[in-house]
């Protein structure tokens, strides 16, 4: 018979894109630096405005004085302490809230009975802003660790719960039928088909959760805490240390970015099969 297969026919490579070397296009610098162009420009303008006195230090201190504040707090060890405290609160809250949310998302996604029993209740709780509970939480737990963990856990719960549930619901039923016909049931079916199918959605939930995690923690720490970044910013306000306040805000931005990058890396690693996450894929 014939040996003709489609493998031997490859599409012609090369396209109009190759006409210009990447570096010449639009005269822009390296693609990796591009996202940082705007933040650096803003920082430069800010410094200039402070240096010429257009921006009084009581309103907004210059980047250099923020830098010196950071240096001072790092040397005294204060900053590291606050960051470590906040970080461990964030991580613990995420772990507790996230794992409960993931478990409930799974059970409600896989079992109709479980969903009927729980989903309505959860949707009602979801519509209460978690920060509205702060007064009640302080009454219950005081201002020690439990109150912060409770609020963070509650904050990260819903994005993870909803996206896990949605991910499991939207797993391709044709693939499930196929796997069943090959004898996959129960945990094997979950491990090979349902979980990988739901993973993109679960990770989207995790990214949302990380944003809410920082937001909730900072607010909780500003109101009811004796350590942590939020506390550092609030006590600096009382002493009119605007440079420390601005430093705290910058650290929030960096921590938020770091959390987001972590999940992106996780996505690239675990979803390398997905056309949208493949390196050099559709971007």
């Amino acid at each position: 018979m014939t040996d003709l297969t489609l493998d031997s026919i490859k599409p012609a490579s090369g396209s109009s894109r190759k006409l210009w070397p990447t570096s010449l296009r639009f005269g822009l610098p390296n693609q990796k630096l591009l996202p940082w162009l705007l933040p650096i420009t803003i920082l430069t303008l800010w410094q200039l405005a402070s240096s010429v006195g257009a921006l009084p230090a009581s309103i907004l201190p210059s980047p250099t004085s923020v830098f010196f504040a950071a240096q001072r707090l790092i040397l005294s060890g204060e900053l590291q302490g606050h960051i470590a405290t906040s970080f461990s609160r964030a991580a613990t809250g995420l772990l507790i809230g996230g794992s409960i949310a993931f478990t409930l998302g799974l059970s409600n996604g896989l079992s109709r009975l479980s969903e009927r029993l729980l989903d309505t209740t959860l949707q009602m709780i979801r519509n209460i802003p978690n920060l509205a509970l702060i007064p009640l939480v302080i009454l219950w737990f005081g201002i020690d660790e439990t109150s912060k963990l409770f609020l963070v856990s509650l904050g990260v719960f819903f994005p993870i719960y909803i996206n896990t549930l949605h991910g499991i619901r939207t797993v391709d039923s044709q693939l499930v039928e196929m796997a069943r016909s090959y004898g996959f049931h129960g945990f094997q079916l979950f491990l090979r088909v349902i979980f990988p199918g739901a993973l993109p959605s679960i990770l989207v939930g995790l990214r949302y959760a990380l944003g809410i995690m920082w937001l909730t923690l900072i607010v909780a720490e500003s109101i009811a805490a004796q350590s942590g970044l939020g506390y550092m910013a609030m006590s600096a306000r009382e002493f009119m240390q605007t440079d420390v306040v601005v430093l705290a805000i910058l650290i929030y931005a960096l921590l938020g970015k770091a959390a987001d990058s972590t999940v992106r890396a996780l996505e690239r690693w675990s979803l390398s099969w997905h056309p949208a996450y493949r390196k050099g894929g559709l971007q």
Binding site: M1, T2, L4, T5, L6, D7, Q174, L175, E177, M178, A179, S181, Y182, G183, F184, H185, Q188, R192, V193, P196, G197, L199, L271, W273, H274, P275
Partner: protein, 261 residues
């Protein structure tokens, strides 16, 4: 070209399928009524019919995907009364998050060690001409290649029955002919019983030993094909039968084809 060797009686390991008085209704709509069909071990049967005639329902019942029917379906293979049925769908249904070879290995079920599974999967992939693509993601393959991976997955466990639900329906004409040749080759090599549901009359006549026409849930036509393999699609007898079958499908009068050579 020489005819391919026919599978000899000795190495036939296909399942015998007998369908007795099978009926199936969905809500108020009756799709199959009192259907009777006997399929011999190793036979290649094509089921044709218009959309909604019940052919896919019949196939799902035989494949064990649908249990809500009345009547009896007996599937026997070499004395065992449970045969291993495999199904190939119109879509390849490959797991996008598993490599090509892991997809094929899925066909061996969950209770096999990965090492053994990979060795057998590699052989099955080679048999469909994709031995070197095992480590790739399914997305990078063409439609025809994906369907070949699905075929390898269906055959890796050496089933005695393969049920095909228009597996070539979504392929382009050339790839389809290639796939038909591949299907015929593996069927001759493996000797399983094949049941192919198709819209394509030529495909049915090219591949099958026997063609069954289903109309409104009943068998309207059931005949064996007298042609040697591989089939010559342009022979007068082939084209005549094609016209007859089309006429039966479309309820028009069959007029024998006239040839002037």
């Amino acid at each position: 070209m020489n005819a391919l060797p026919q599978a000899s009686a000795a190495d036939i390991k296909g399942a015998a399928i007998s369908i007795r008085h099978v009926g199936r209704s969905f809500a108020s709509k009756t799709v199959l009524t009192d259907l009777k069909l006997d399929i011999e071990p190793g036979e290649f049967v094509a089921v044709v019919g218009q959309s909604g005639c019940g052919k896919s329902t019949l196939l799902r019942i035989i494949a064990g995907l649908d249990h809500a029917y009345t009547g009896k379906v007996l599937i026997e293979s070499e004395g065992r009364d449970t045969a291993s049925a495999r199904i190939m769908y119109q879509e390849p249904r490959l797991l996008p998050w598993a490599s090509v070879i892991d997809n094929v290995a899925m066909g061996l079920g969950p209770d096999i060690t990965r090492q053994v599974a990979l060795i057998r999967a590699r052989k099955a992939l080679e048999a469909v001409g994709l031995g070197d693509r095992g480590s790739e993601w399914p997305q990078v393959l063409s439609g025809g290649q994906k369907q070949r991976v699905a075929l390898a997955r269906a055959l890796v466990s050496r089933p005695d029955e393969l049920v095909l639900d228009e597996p070539l329906g979504a392929l382009d004409a050339l790839t389809r002919i290639e796939m038909q040749q591949l299907l015929e080759r593996v069927w001759l090599e493996e000797g399983f019983t094949a049941l192919l549901v198709t819209h394509d009359v030529v495909e049915a006549l090219t591949l099958a030993d026997r063609v069954v026409l289903i109309e409104q849930g009943e068998i309207a036509l059931d005949f064996k094909l007298p042609f040697a393999r591989p089939r010559k699609r342009s022979s007068v007898a082939f084209v005549n039968l094609e016209e007859r079958l089309l006429a039966a499908l479309l309820h028009t009068n069959h007029q024998p084809v006239e040839y002037v050579i």
